[in-house]
Symmetry: C2
Subunit: 425 residues, 2 copies
């Protein structure tokens, strides 16, 4: 495949006609394929089938001197706090284990900041005027949606290969109206990159003007390596604590993509002071999380070694999917000079930048023939990609054969849109 920008107009016109013909063929097939959802496939969920029977009777439900079926233990089972403490790099005492969703814990943290103040010593965000939140992008749409719903102005920050543009971040936090930043620091959604040690250290050393600035450290893919050699993320919480700045950091993770997305266990870690303060407010909200599901998880995955062995099984199912997409892009898109993309070593997404101004067109072309992708722009604040070039590929949910078809059509449409742009059709 030659570079499109080196082809003559005639060659390009012929190619375009050929691509159109293939597209019309595909349109006739009545396909229904989906590369939109960052969800585990059924075969991945089957890996955790033993979770259902991990706790089979109430006689087996004692821990921490209590009957786990009953009320209480707002902070979560102790062994579970230790477990997630290892995953998040925090002592058990600085971990709260919750329900089935880290997103829920993030939302609740920000709601508490709105109504009560982020720290015991700061004022509620509500009433402080128009606030702003930093959104490294492409990034996770559900993060941005929370800040937007809370009435914040979303400030885009460029996501680089080693993390957010820290020069920009350091500059932007001089504005006291900037109250936080969203990060998926390992196998970032959607680019799949992991923040470098240097970036993490610059986060730890951040001196925001706002005393109630929060780094939402959503470590959703903490253990989600595709290869034996996984990326290693520096521990932001301990780095920040070493600088006396631990109060900025709220870290989250869950087993949503370890066991079951709908019925996993989520946890947060923060400074001792923040944990005490947030737990106090949570005490008005809840008498305690679902400790039986926590116990089930502990029995099934007692430690990080068990998690690691379990995640290798996920990787075996996911690697061929990621490689299917990457191989097709390597063969047809990169050499044509019509797109660049990331090569994640973990996580759930591949981020594809097509030619400027072409992402919405590619999305539309695919949607019209029954291939659903995450809408172009979804990974940007206000769903607006200023260059209209980014597409998020989610290869995990379809079967391998569906994914092959979907990827072929993605490549076809990337080429089509490029031809249209170059030919000004």
């Amino acid at each position: 495949m030659p570079r499109f920008d080196q082809m003559s107009k005639t060659e390009l016109t012929e190619l375009y006609a050929d691509l159109r013909r293939k597209y019309e063929e595909a349109a006739g097939l009545g396909l229904s394929l989906n590369m939109a959802r960052g969800k585990p496939a059924a075969d991945q969920l089957d890996l955790s089938d033993e979770l259902f029977s991990a706790v089979s009777t109430g006689k087996d439900c004692r821990a921490d001197g209590m009957d786990l079926r009953n009320y209480g233990k707002l902070e979560g089972i102790e062994d579970c706090r230790t477990f997630f403490g290892e995953m998040l790099g925090a002592p058990a005492s600085q971990v709260l284990v919750g329900g089935n969703s880290a997103l829920n814990m993030i939302f609740d943290t920000l709601m508490r900041a709105m109504v009560f103040g982020l720290h015991s010593y700061t004022e509620p965000w509500m009433g402080q005027g128009k606030l702003k939140f930093l959104c490294p992008c492409p990034g996770y749409d559900r993060h941005f949606a929370i800040a937007e719903a809370l009435g914040m102005e979303l400030i885009p920050v460029e996501m680089k290969d080693d993390g957010p543009d820290m020069d920009a971040v350091e500059e932007l936090v001089k504005d006291a109206a900037v109250k936080g930043i969203f990060c998926v620091p390992k196998y970032s959604n959607p680019t799949g990159i992991t923040f470098s040690d240097a970036v993490v250290r610059r986060f730890a050393a951040l001196k925001p003007a706002a005393k109630d600035f929060i780094i939402v450290w959503d470590n959703a893919y903490a253990v989600h390596d595709l290869y034996d050699e996984g990326d290693v993320l520096l521990n932001l919480l301990s780095e920040a604590e070493a600088q006396g700045r631990g109060d900025m950091v709220f870290a989250y993770t869950s087993t949503s993509k370890v066991t079951f997305p709908g019925a996993g266990v989520a946890a947060m870690a923060a400074s001792a002071e923040n944990i005490a303060y947030h737990k106090k407010i949570m005490g008005f909200q809840s008498i305690g999380p679902d400790k039986l599901n926590q116990l089930r998880h502990l029995r099934y995955l007692p430690d990080m070694k068990a998690v690691s062995a379990h995640m290798q099984k996920h990787a075996e199912l996911l690697r061929p999917k990621f490689e299917t997409v990457l191989n097709a892009l390597d063969a047809e898109v990169a050499p044509a000079g019509i797109g660049t993309y990331t090569r994640p070593r973990g996580g759930y997404f591949i981020s594809l930048d097509v030619m400027d101004g072409c992402a919405s067109r590619v999305w539309k072309l695919l949607a019209d023939i029954g291939v659903e992708m995450t809408p172009a722009g979804a990974s940007f604040p206000y769903k607006k990609d200023p260059r209209d070039r980014n597409l998020r590929i989610a290869p995990t949910f379809p079967t391998l054969s569906e994914l092959k078809k979907a990827t072929d059509l993605l490549v076809l449409c990337v080429k089509l849109a490029a031809c249209e742009k170059l030919l000004e059709v």
Copy 2:
């Protein structure tokens, strides 16, 4: 047992000496008894042991055209919405099924009201100045604690035998700063009374000055009858909707005291408009509740008939406990004229009014000999019982023999405190 107020000073002094001696004896026993906690006992939890194996494999987890292990279904499984709709008296479409805690859903509703506004057409409570909340009392301390945490002024309203003093409620809601009222309308915590039809109709016809006034209708004991003939609660939601005032009503319930307090399923019902609006905001908070626990519950308790049969087993365990307390009070407290109390036909509590000014003293006397009761005043706003007479008895958690001992000591201390008061010791 003669009435204390008809005894001579000599008789009373002799009685007091005798009671003191018995008290000192009890003090020497090193007891540790607990009537403080409204928790099911272990034998009640054992009733639901089959819940653990109600869903045993992922192959069994399809409903609503989806794999329940995966993400999604923010509103809960459809059959679960129907189930809780029956419990709350609402169509399935007006029900959201959540996680393990109705308290959590109540708190979240009020947080949404604070930050986003209670309805799509009203302003956030925050920024509206000092707000007030009506607290029928004695009532549920965790309700009052939420409103207090949110910075509201707690306005006490007298709880009568048929519900809150509606004359007072109708007068108080003329103040636009009054934003809501907490109700446990069936087998109320702690008095155990059920709101009469007349009271429910007056709630439905309420015309609060605040457009964003909420009736927090916490139907925690909807199916928790102690006897075959249970109290019947009129359906507030449909009554209010008939008056065009459905938007005021947010109803909640859970299986916390049906299956497991720590791992049950909770739900809320409201007007169609409120459900749509709150669900939209919840869409920022969560991708969906734990649907596997919902499925477990559906399999184990598929309908109200199954629930009713199950609750009869609870009743068999609880009736002897309630009757132990009531028999002792009937024998020793009522005839002595030193206390009045409720005779609940369901729920988890008995409310005891001792002589004015004696509740804290009774609590302290009991605490000193190892019998833990809910602190006097806990059922009142700011934990202050203006007459210092109310004690909440929670008979469910101790074993029957522990409860017998604790009740004997309760009666002893009620008498002691009465003697002290009458003798001015």
